[in-house]
Symmetry: C2
Subunit: 279 residues, 2 copies
């Protein structure tokens, strides 16, 4: 056919996977078997083909065992906003909102690791602080059913601590919720927030914590900046999830209640695949 050999092999395997001939969880032929199947191509050529499937997230390789079609777990729906039902006017721990909605699963968080840092350029712009200003960062690792789920870091202006919100620098959970605590202590009420959502490749720390394979799985990152009534930013929270088992849900305006309780249980990409077919 056309194109390099490793690509032809990869395409053929992809066809068999997507047709269901190689169902999720099943083992691919070994590299030696694939060699024979494809005109005695070199083992390295077969491995190039497999590598391209790994990068696309279609298969995983396990040393000593074989190569397997990925079994996607049920994606977890993280509710990021709900106008109608919850009516979250101001108070509660916005950063924990999604976690609290863990349907039928039990979330747990490590104690926060608290640091006082010179603000980065990025966070400084969000919190509208001068370069060189100090911020409190509170970092947590969250798990669901014991499995790593998200990494989260919240940044507050150090001035909040000086003005009396001293619990911010304690490495303990702030019980009524950090936003509520800051609101009560400093008389600041959260009236809105802005989420910036992006996807990127994981860094080393994230790969290790989430136990991600060498490649193929991106992470979703949300940077949430919360504002008080005067329009001043109160805090900035950066949360990172592995993209293969999470989706972020934003409800805007009136959304039927039964939909709000729905758990997403489909395969990602299905919609666009069908829509994009046939240039």
């Amino acid at each position: 056919m056309t194109g390099p050999i490793y690509r032809q092999i990869a395409e053929e395997l992809r066809r068999r996977i997507e047709s269901g001939e190689l169902p999720p969880g099943s083992q691919l032929p070994t590299e030696l078997e694939l060699r024979e199947m494809f005109d005695n191509a070199s083992r390295n050529t077969v491995r190039d083909a497999i590598r391209s499937l790994v990068t696309r997230g279609l298969v995983v390789t396990r040393a000593g065992q074989g190569t397997f079609v990925v079994e996607r777990m049920v994606p977890f729906a993280v509710t990021m906003s709900t106008d109608s039902v919850t009516g979250l006017g101001g108070g509660e721990g916005v950063a924990y909102m999604g976690q609290a909605r863990a349907q039928r699963r039990t979330p747990e968080a490590t104690l926060p690791r608290v640091e006082i840092q010179t603000v980065s350029e990025l966070i400084g712009r969000e919190l509208r602080l001068d370069p060189g200003a100090q911020v409190v960062s509170r970092h947590q690792r969250l798990r669901i059913d014991g499995k790593p789920w998200s990494l989260q870091t919240s940044f507050y202006p150090m001035s909040f601590v000086e003005q009396g919100a001293s619990k911010l620098v304690e490495a303990k959970n702030i019980e009524p919720g950090a936003v509520k605590y800051v609101g009560e202590t400093l008389n600041l009420k959260q009236v809105g927030y802005r989420d910036q959502v992006l996807a990127r490749q994981p860094n080393e720390v994230e790969s290790a914590f989430f136990r991600l394979p060498d490649s193929g799985v991106a992470v979703l990152e949300s940077m949430r900046t919360a504002y008080e009534a005067g329009g001043k930013p109160i805090r900035c929270t950066v949360t990172v999830w592995p993209a293969d088992r999470n989706r972020l849900v934003y409800n805007v305006g009136a959304v039927p209640e039964e939909v709000l309780l729905t758990v997403a249980d489909d395969q990602p990409g299905s919609a666009s695949v069908s829509s994009a077919t046939g240039s």
Copy 2:
């Protein structure tokens, strides 16, 4: 050190890139030069190291030219929701909202490619249609400044057409906006929507349209389901963007106006990198 040679080489190169010693756009040493730099490792070993950097999105290779540190373009902020300023109670083309906000850039869309399909399981669940029901799909490709930007497909129940919204099956832009047209024709008013955001590896069509490299760049997908006052879904829109040059912005509640107009111009991952450092 520890670990395989190609990993050591990759780590060393990554260090030089992130320290600024190899700034964005600069050329890496050639494979032969890298061979000499790293204890006369095999050229294949050097290539393995570079490949891992490509997969992480740190460098790109160009045949005949060399390997270069990636230059990220300014990420485009796609506004997905604004409660306060725009006050989008119901009408306007929700799916085009983000595009209309193209700051200082000129968006253009292809004419819609219209198809009548049997509904997929995924879309059927969103639109609450029975299996086997028919839907109208309207597919568009959007560009900004002539460069590919997003792929978008909207699905409507075929019953809408039978009830009089005949423009839905015409391969032309619906001028007042499709949602408005449906609303006026069928007396349905959009009162809310639900966005599901995920990230995944691009499929073939997407890779081709967005001209994505073989690996390293994920796509962001948003599936937006719009609801009318009775709680019935009106339409479902799936939009896909390349993740390396877009971020989705959700404004909830009161967000200061000057923030709404801000263009994001930072590097992704900066926030979490600093926060995650030091386990």
